[in-house]
């Protein structure tokens, strides 16, 4: 019998949920003397949710064995993460973790918008340069003047307004 990839994925998720409920949850949430009654326990709600998730995943695993396989679409099954959205996500996360901190929101935002525009297929140089600049100028006006909110600045040159 050939085991379907979705059954393997669900089995992995189920195992992770069990480990989370039985091991990680009690390890992370300590019980104070006041919190030992069922109604007072800080573990009550997370444990209830973990039990619900384990039951649902077990049900899903069972369904994956008994249900007929889903029909493939016109282009066949498109499993896995697609290249363009995953690339876009990596660019966004890189700026959220490092870029905005190092270059400030406005310079970082321009770089992020340029990279995303190119990734999405734009090839006209004036659009690639002008569009992010206009976008960030609009955000600058909106946040700094209309909403009076200060977004992160480029820290290496003190006094720079962006």
């Amino acid at each position: 019998m050939r085991v379907r990839p979705e059954s393997i994925a669900l089995g992995g998720l189920l195992a992770a949920a069990v480990v989370f409920g039985l091991w990680i949850l009690p390890l992370d949430i300590g019980l104070s003397a006041a919190g030992e009654g069922t109604g007072l326990s800080p573990r009550f709600m997370p444990q209830l949710a973990a039990v619900g998730m384990v039951v649902a995943l077990a049900w899903g695993l069972y369904r994956s064995f008994v249900a007929p396989p889903a029909a493939a679409g016109p282009n066949g099954d498109r499993e896995g993460l697609a290249r363009i959205p995953f690339g876009a996500w990596l660019i966004c996360l890189a700026f959220a973790v490092f870029g905005f901190d190092l270059a400030g929101f406005y310079l970082g935002g321009i770089c992020m918008a340029v990279l995303l525009t190119v990734l999405l297929g734009e090839r006209r140089p004036w659009i690639i340069v002008l569009f992010p600049a206009l976008l960030l100028a609009a955000i600058y006006l909106l946040f700094e003047f209309a909403l009076n909110v200060r977004l992160p600045r480029f820290g290496l040159i003190p006094g720079l307004p962006i």
């Binding site: 949850l25 992370d28 949430i29 019980l31 104070s32 006041a34 919190g35 009654g37 069922t38 109604g39 007072l40 800080p42 573990r43 009550f44 709600m45 997370p46 209830l48 949710a49 619900g52 998730m53 039951v55 649902a56 995943l57 049900w59 899903g60 369904r63 498109r78 993460l81 697609a82 363009i84 959205p85 876009a88 996500w89 966004c92 996360l93 700026f95 959220a96 973790v97 905005f100 901190d101 929101f105 935002g109 992020m112 918008a113 995303l116 525009t117 999405l120 297929g121 734009e122 659009i127 992010p132 976008l135 960030l136 955000i139 946040f143 909403l147 009076n148 909110v149 977004l151 992160p152």
Partner: protein, 509 residues
Amino acid sequence: MENILEGISLALNFNALAGILLGIVLGQILGSIPGLTAAMAVALLVPFSFYFDPWVGIPMMLAMFKGSLFGSSIPAILLRTPGTPAAAATVIDGNPLARQGKGGKAMHTVLFASVFGDSFSDIVLIFGAGALAAVAIRFGPSEYAILVFFALLSLISLHRGSSWKGIVSITAGVLLACVGLDPITGTPRLTFGNAELFDGIGLIPMLIGFLAISEVFRQLEQPVRRLGERTMKFSSRPEDNRLSGKERRALLPTLLRSSAIGTITGALPGLGSTVAAFIAYNEARRTAARPEEFGKGSLHGIAAPEAANNAVGGSNLIPLLAFGIPGDVAAALILGALLIQGITPGPIAFRDNPAPIYAIFVAMLLANLVNYLVGLGFIPLAKKMVSVPKRLLFPAVLVLASAGAYAMRGSLFDVQLMFVFGLVGWIMAKYKFPSVLLLIGFILTPIFERSIRQTLILVEAADGWLAFVASRPVLMILLGALAILAVVVIRQRLKMNRYKLPQEPADSS
């Protein structure tokens, strides 16, 4: 009476009116851009509403929803690309009519039906929510726990996919809501020593991540092309670009029936506007004098789904305002905006501070009027709005979303969380896990946890469960009523499965 007058004065001041106007204009523009769903557009704008006075921000949010629902029907008609799943039924007759050169007439029909359905359900909301809140004021923690549990249960049972996926989504939302300090004992939960998580996970990164970012990633999977290059010819004859008085009168029975269908559907948690639109469309075709015109550009075929899906918008606020429980993603977003502004809807608000609730009612009715007037001017611009290329739209959405997520708490951690949730939401959509249920689970957990833990403490003090239930007649009535309602809802789900719904994102439940 004094509270009603105070509510009217709150909603009728210049700033609130400006908020309504701004919300309608933004909603119609964003909603009409292919690729920006109504929920996605509003999720992006929720953080900005915080910077306004509550009586600018809240009317603006409500108006934005109404405007975006109308706007999202425009690409459905002109490009066969519904801006929101609820507009999918509008495509069936809207696009054929537009292909006959009568795009103007189709858009005028949509506008008229949208405002009619919206106003109908708002009036029902005004009378229905107060009456329900008067009952809800007698509810204790156990009644609330049952009510929230039922809302979650019905959302799972009515989700149009596997129920187990619904449960996984809701429990994931509950777990995410548990992150932070325990509300009763103050013990850190699921923070893993990270101080940024002690305040819990912010609602804004969750909403933007799951609704807007994941939707961008989902749409990026399609081949990126310029949608605006497909042109639609418009007839120059005036009668093809407007809706006559005779046509409006002929539509009235369809509009009334469809608005009633939408209002009833919206008051039940989980059914949603897509279901209402298709039920209303089928009902209009079934009762039509000339059913053979349906699918070929029938005005009734456009008006029925539009009136129904807009009517859902008002009536799904009934459980939100009466009990503080959102029934779908639109209500969840509005609840998020209300909480951000420091307003907690529910029976206590009706009893102790009803003026803001009346102000919301007045703002909703006013927004309908403004939606109609602005819509009349917006229709000629619609052709241009549907031609924004996605390769520019999506980078703009991602950068703007980053700014919005940062601005709320001044934390880059929130921006990182937003993108992580965006990835999770995208993967969930790929595998048909309803991320809207995760969001509703997240939003309802604080009230559910507080109620259920208080109930457990009360039961421990009483002589067991049976004695506790027997001592609370309201709880017994509620349990019986909910059992009956559960049977009705499950039967309705079985009936609903007979309707052929189009493929749509998992979020539309």
